[in-house]
């Protein structure tokens, strides 16, 4: 068996075991009535009378997460570029990013809730959560270029911009792709937290309502859909990250 097949096999067994344990715990009532079996949650999700509601909520959260992901990662990369290309700004940019990251997401969420309209709030919270991860990843990637390669560019008399474009940026792509992969689930979490405060649509309000009204199956359905969205984005960007690492990292 090749290592790749082994990994895949191991992963499949692990996930299957976890799902089986979930199913067993639900059927046996081991963890009480608020822990339904997986099959029951799945049946709830696909039932025609719930499908429209869940799809609408999931699509709403996915849109917000996607916008937040795009905005936050662009801003994170842009700030990292600014700090690298104009070194005088590096200190200020770094402190700013650290402060943004230091505010708990829940605090950002409530601050944004009173600042932005409810429809925009989830996007803002998601993008702020993603921003710092991409800023750190891009800064680390851009400054990790090997010294000898920098020396070659300097001796050649390459301009600052050419060094950036031909050397630093390509060398940073694997780190940036890694940051994107890690921040994809964060954007989903950020969108849901942003929805929590005032939104009318999305998985967030669904979770709040289901919890308050003790709709156990709906609560689990929304949670499971959110988890699946995060995992799918993480896995998809993992493919991108591996491709970038394969091409741009020395072996």
């Amino acid at each position: 068996m090749t290592p790749a097949v082994q990994r895949l096999g191991g992963g499949t067994i692990g996930i299957a075991g976890m799902l089986a344990a979930w199913e067993f715990a639900g059927r046996s009532g081991l963890l009480g009535p608020s822990w339904p079996a997986l099959s029951r949650v799945a049946a709830y999700i696909v039932a025609p009378e719930h499908r429209a509601l869940l799809i609408d909520a999931a699509a709403q959260t996915l849109r917000e997460a996607a916008f937040g992901f795009a905005a936050g990662s662009s801003a994170g990369c842009a700030f990292a570029l600014l700090a690298v290309l104009i070194p005088a700004t590096a200190f200020g940019v770094d402190r700013f990013a650290a402060i943004v990251n230091g505010i708990p997401v829940i605090a950002i969420g409530s601050l944004c809730a009173v600042t932005f309209p409810p429809a925009v709030n989830p996007i803002v919270v998601a993008s702020l959560a993603v921003f710092f991860m991409l800023f750190v990843a891009a800064t680390a990637g851009l400054s990790a270029t090997p010294a000898a390669q920098h020396d070659v560019f300097r001796v050649l008399g390459a301009a600052r911009w050419a060094t950036f474009r031909r050397l630093q940026l390509p060398a940073a792509l694997p780190a940036i792709a890694d940051g994107l992969r890690l921040s994809a689930p964060v954007s989903v979490v950020g969108a849901i937290i942003g929805e929590w405060f005032a939104a009318e649509r999305g998985l967030g309000p669904l979770l709040v309502n289901a919890m308050q009204n003790y709709q156990i199956d709906l609560l689990w359905s929304a949670a499971l859909i959110g988890a699946l969205m995060s995992a799918t984005a993480y896995l998809a960007l993992g493919i991108v990250q591996r491709a970038a690492a394969h091409r741009y990292l020395p072996r």
Partner: protein, 268 residues
């Protein structure tokens, strides 16, 4: 092979002058570390000079000064009458290090073409291909560094150093990480390439044999603070080939310089 067919070095070679050069590094404790002291060195245009010396004697510091990567604390350094930073900005310096420093995402051909792109000139594809042939990797032009052997990577690095037709070639232990057989082979190749087109070359090396085989003169440096102990002219005619390595005169000179190195070691 005629000169015209392989005329990939056409620019004017530079002379190099170092006058009373001192380099101090600040240490963490606030003291200064003197890396080079009182260095006077004249390198005539179109000659090959090797610098040998004990580890940490500042050999590489001399090369970093010439590459414009470091400024002297005092004294003057000129390449072709200019300071090294100006020579670098004019894209007239070629460099290869022990770390081949090839970009892993580019093929051998694109790595050799990189200097054109790095300085914003149109790529001279013909010249790139000719240099790939000169260093003997024409058949691997489309291969990435990861799939090349250590010796082949250094060949690519040397082609890259030559591609902009530099007035000076700076080589810092370019074969230092290679096995002995590959290293000797690349020395023969470098000697051949150099004999076809004399370009002012400075080679930093640990190997006395390599220095004597390749150079017109060998500079022996002392332990830190680096000073020049001796400048030895190498009398052997070019082109030199493998047979030189077996001659008593070659061995006598290598032994003599090795003794000089051992002496600088014992002084410290």
């Amino acid at each position: 092979m005629t000169i015209a067919a392989t005329a990939y070095i056409t620019g004017e070679p530079f002379a190099i002058h170092l006058r009373d050069v001192r380099v101090d590094y600040p240490t963490r404790r606030g003291q200064t570390l003197r890396a080079l002291d009182g260095i006077d060195l004249d390198v005539a245009a179109a000659t090959f000079t090797a610098i040998i010396g004990p580890s940490g004697c500042g050999k590489s510091t001399v090369l970093r000064l010439l590459g414009g990567l470091l400024r002297p604390t005092s004294g003057s350094v000129t390449i072709g009458g200019r300071n090294p930073v100006a020579a670098a900005s004019a894209h007239r310096l070629g460099v290869a290090f022990q770390d081949h420093a090839l970009l892993p995402w580019l093929t051998a051909r694109d790595n050799v073409a990189l200097p054109f792109r790095a300085v914003g000139r149109p790529v001279d594809a013909q010249r790139v291909d000719r240099l790939l042939d000169v260093v003997g990797i024409g058949d691997f032009a489309g291969t990435r560094p990861a799939e090349l052997s250590g010796g082949m990577r250094q060949r690519v690095a040397i082609a890259r150093a030559l591609v902009l037709d530099p007035g000076v070639l700076l080589l810092d232990e370019p074969f230092g990480a290679l096995d002995a057989v590959t290293r000797r082979h690349l020395n023969l190749e470098l000697q051949r390439i150099w004999s076809e087109h004399a370009i002012t070359t400075l080679l930093v090396t640990h190997s006395v044999e390599e220095a004597v085989f390749l150079a017109d003169s060998v500079v022996v440096m002392s332990r830190r603070p680096g000073r020049i102990e001796r400048v030895q002219t190498v009398p052997f005619v070019r082109p030199r080939d493998r047979s030189l390595l077996a001659t008593p005169a070659f061995h006598a000179l290598v032994d003599d310089l090795t003794n000089a190195l051992d002496f600088t070691d014992s002084v410290a």
